[in-house]
């Protein structure tokens, strides 16, 4: 009887240890922000910037919004079951008349954990996705 009790206790302890190991301790989340690239693109209309911004943010983060009709775009990363997102970025497009082109800037933030990539990596991806478009 005592042996059975001890065996059950040991088995339950294994489950406890396993679960504590799985759950871990919640690490403190830190906000990481970066001022990404700034570029002037010549001989392209502002609409091209807007199209590229929407596409780059959509591919890197998922949800994309333009603030009115301003050429200012924000992207939000995947949203978890609790409604939280852990990555966000902004792309600003602004017309530059003297070069018949536009100014574009990238600004990014991630929260790690649980985000697995830094704000700098995110902004690099966005700039590459933006610049890689025709």
């Amino acid at each position: 009887m005592a042996r059975t009790f001890l065996t059950r206790g040991a088995v339950a302890a294994v489950g406890l240890a396993l679960a504590v190991g799985l759950a871990g301790r919640p690490a403190a989340a830190a906000l990481d922000t970066v001022i990404g690239a700034q570029d002037v693109v010549k001989n392209e209309p502002l609409s091209s910037c807007n199209t590229k911004a929407r596409s780059a943010l959509g591919s890197a983060l998922g949800k994309v919004y333009e603030m009115g009709d301003t050429g200012q775009w924000e992207g939000i990363g995947a949203i978890d079951a609790a409604g939280n997102s852990f990555a966000a970025a902004a792309i600003h497009c602004y017309p530059i008349d003297d070069v018949t082109g536009y100014l574009v800037t990238f600004t990014c933030a991630t929260q790690s954990p649980p985000a697995t990539e830094s704000a700098s990596v995110l902004c690099g991806k966005l700039a590459a996705a933006f610049g890689g478009q025709p």
């Binding site: 302890a13 396993l18 679960a19 504590v20 906000l31 852990f86 902004a90």
Partner: protein, 223 residues
């Protein structure tokens, strides 16, 4: 129920109990504010930079230019409860043939930060070009951990009552290290102590926070 199934059920019970007990806190999320832009028909990039720096410093702990002369500024809040900044704002200036254009982008880690990214960006922008400024709530400061024989944690150095040469150092991360360098973990729920050290041990913390006792272990804290 077969013995095998019964043991499986016990493992599952332990798993559920520990997952509930571990009580992981809900993660915060990133809040973003985009959309405020200002075109000044006069002034230089240096003028914009000076105003950007002042505007950020009015609400955040300190602003830095991403590279000297770039006109791109980033400010961070004071450290929040986790010991890291919980809000940031970017003010980016660009010189035009006449004047300059400046954009404002803000981020806040909610719910750790006491105000939203929108609230921060409005204040920074209004400080820059004029407008109503609404006071932002103060960033909560990190809560200092109780010291001494606190009953809410096991931080500190413990000595085995049975073997005074054996001591344990328990830290804020839930780690413990004995005097021989062997490591383990500690947990505390109420007055129930869990030590993972050559197996798992369930012990009891005394009401004065000074003693841990149970099968095989009797420890006293230096405090």
């Amino acid at each position: 129920m077969t013995p095998f199934a019964r043991r499986g059920a016990l493992v599952a019970l332990g798993l559920v109990a520990a997952l509930v007990w571990s009580n992981a806190s809900a993660p915060a999320s990133v809040d973003i504010s985009v959309g405020i832009r200002y075109l000044s028909p006069t002034g230089t990039l240096a003028d914009c930079s000076a105003k950007a720096k002042d505007s950020l410093n009015a609400f955040l702990a300190g602003s830095v230019e991403s590279s000297p002369g770039s006109g791109e500024w980033l400010g961070e809040s004071a450290n929040g409860v986790a010991g890291t900044p919980t809000a940031m704002a970017a003010v980016r200036c660009y010189a035009m043939p006449k004047g300059y254009v400046v954009t404002f982008t803000c981020f806040a880690q909610l719910p750790d930060n006491p105000y939203t990214a929108d609230a921060l960006c409005k204040d920074v922008a209004h400080k820059f070009y004029g407008g109503t400024i609404t006071a932002l709530a103060a960033i909560p400061t990190p809560t200092p951990l109780p010291t001494g024989c606190a009953t809410t944690n096991l931080l500190g150095t413990w000595t085995s009552d049975d073997n005074p040469k054996l001591t344990f150092t328990m830290d804020v991360n839930g780690d413990l290290t004995d005097s021989d360098g062997v490591s383990g973990n500690w947990g505390l729920k109420g007055d129930t102590v869990t030590l993972t050290y050559y197996g798992n041990h369930t012990l009891t913390l005394s009401s004065d926070g000074k003693h841990i006792s149970g099968v095989g272990y009797h420890l006293t804290r230096k405090c």
